[in-house]
Symmetry: C2
Subunit: 247 residues, 2 copies
C-alpha cells in the first residue's frame, strides 16, 4: 500500500514562499477528475493570493496560523450558478434553487477539496482545512463577490510547509465501521473508543487550562459550544436563503 | 506527477467476486487519516455485503448497475451520535443537535468517502458514488437502523471492476477557478466552457432520445428535473428534523 495515506497530516504553518499559479492550476485541473454528480462539476474554487486579500480573508478565519501564514487560501464553493446560467441561456428550466441542489453541490465541492488536498500533499505542499469557513460564510461570500447559488463550504490553506504537526491518532476503525447495521455503542464501548484521546497526555493539558473535568467537556463546552453552533446554524441557513438555495 | 489522478474514472459494473472484509477495513482505516474537524471523526460507515441486504439497498438506488452488480455498498453517514453519547456519558453539554453540526459532520463524511475512493482505486478496486443516496435517505436510514444524529450523505459501490467506463471530460479549469474574486461568465464564455460536453457526439444521442432541443434541457428537464429536486429537498429536510439536526 501507498504509505502516504497513513502518514499524512495537516500543516498549520507555512513558509512565506508564494505558490506558483501554474502549479496550483495543474493540481486543481487534476483534482477535477474526481467524481462529480452527473459530470456537472457543481463547484467553484476562489484562489486568494494577493497580500491584502489574504489579510482580509484570514481575519474571517480568526487569524489562526493555518490561515495567517498561508500564501494561498482556496475557498471551495457549492456552485449551481454556472450550471443554471448555462441552462437558462439554452432555454432550459433550471430547477436548482432548492435545498437538495445545495446538498448535491456541497458534496461535489467537498470531494474536489479532498482531491486537491491529496494531490497537493503528494506534490510536497502542506494543506489545512479551515473549519471556520461556515462561521463567517456571509462575510467571506461578500469579500469574494460570490453570486446567487454559490456558497463557500470548504476553505483550504495551501503552501510550502514550515513545519508539519504531529500525526494525530484516530479512533479504532470498528468504532465507526458498522457491518450491515448501525450498532449503537454502550458506555463501556464508548470509553474504549475514545481512550486514544482521553489517555493522550497532550489532552490532559487542555482540561487543566480550561478548568474542566474531562476532555468531552473541553470539546463540547469550550471548543464547539452549543451557543456558537446554534448561532452559526442560523447565519448559515440565512446565507442559503440569501443565495437562493432555500425559499 | 502521479498519473492515477488524471486517468481515474468511476466503475459502474462489478465482478461478482466478494470483497475481503480485512482488506476493506484496512482501506477504511487508512482513509480515516484524512482531515476531520477537530479530530472528532464525525462519520460512520455502514458496509452492506450480505446478499439480501444488498438487494434491498440496491432497490433504494433504483437498481442502477453501479448498485445492483456491486458486492459491497458503503453508506457513509454524517454522525454526531457517537460524539454526543460520549459527551453525555462524561457529563458534558453536547450542543450538536443543530444544522451547523450537520454541515460539519457532512463535510467530515464526504472527505472520508473521497479518501476511501482514492485508496480503494489505487489498490485496484472500482468505486462509484451513488448520487441517489439522498432520494431515499429515509428508507436507507431505516434499513441500516441509523439512530438520532446519523444521516446518510454518500453511498459508494466498491468491488472488482468488470469494465471501467470511458474517462469523462471535464470543463477547462479556468471555467471554475477564479483568482481573487468570483467572475460571472457571460453567455459566450458559458458556451465555450460547456462546449466540451455540447460537442460530444455521445451527448447528441441523449438529446434525440429525449426529444429535447439541447443538452442543457436533457440535464435540467430529464435527468435532474425541478419537481424531483424540490420533492427531495422536502424529504431530506424532514429527515434532518427527524434525526435531530433541525428543530
Amino acid at each position: 500500500m501507498d504509505n502516504y495515506f497513513v502518514n499524512r497530516r495537516s500543516c498549520r504553518n507555512f513558509k512565506s514562499e508564494k505558490i506558483d499559479i501554474k502549479k496550483l492550476t495543474e493540481i486543481i485541473r487534476q483534482a477535477s477528475k474526481a467524481p462529480t454528480c452527473g459530470n456537472m462539476q457543481l463547484y467553484s474554487v476562489i484562489a486568494t493570493m494577493d497580500e491584502e486579500n489574504l489579510k482580509r480573508l484570514s481575519a474571517f478565519h480568526y487569524n489562526q496560523p493555518a490561515a495567517s501564514t498561508a500564501p494561498c487560501i482556496l475557498t471551495i464553493c457549492a456552485d449551481f450558478n454556472r450550471f443554471t446560467q448555462w441552462c437558462e441561456s439554452n432555454d432550459a428550466d433550471a430547477g436548482f434553487d432548492n435545498f437538495h441542489s445545495f446538498i448535491v453541490a456541497m458534496t461535489d465541492a467537498v470531494i474536489l477539496a479532498q482531491q486537491i488536498v491529496t494531490i497537493a500533499e503528494k506534490e510536497g505542499y502542506g494543506t489545512c482545512y479551515l473549519g471556520t469557513v461556515t462561521y463567517n460564510a456571509e462575510e467571506i461570500s461578500k469579500l469574494l463577490k460570490l453570486p446567487e447559488l454559490v456558497v463557500p463550504v470548504a476553505s483550504l490553506s495551501i503552501g510550502v510547509p514550515e513545519c508539519i504537526g504531529e500525526a494525530t491518532d484516530r479512533i479504532v476503525t470498528d468504532g465507526f465501521l458498522h457491518i450491515e447495521n448501525y450498532s449503537v455503542a454502550d458506555e463501556k464501548k464508548l470509553e474504549e473508543i475514545f481512550r486514544i484521546h482521553t489517555e493522550n497526555p497532550e489532552n490532559e493539558k487542555f482540561i487543566m487550562e480550561n478548568n474542566k473535568e474531562n476532555l468531552a467537556q473541553v470539546f463540547s463546552e469550550v471548543r464547539y459550544p452549543r451557543a456558537l453552533n446554534e448561532e452559526v446554524s442560523v447565519s448559515f441557513m440565512q446565507l442559503l436563503k440569501k443565495k437562493g438555495f432555500i425559499k
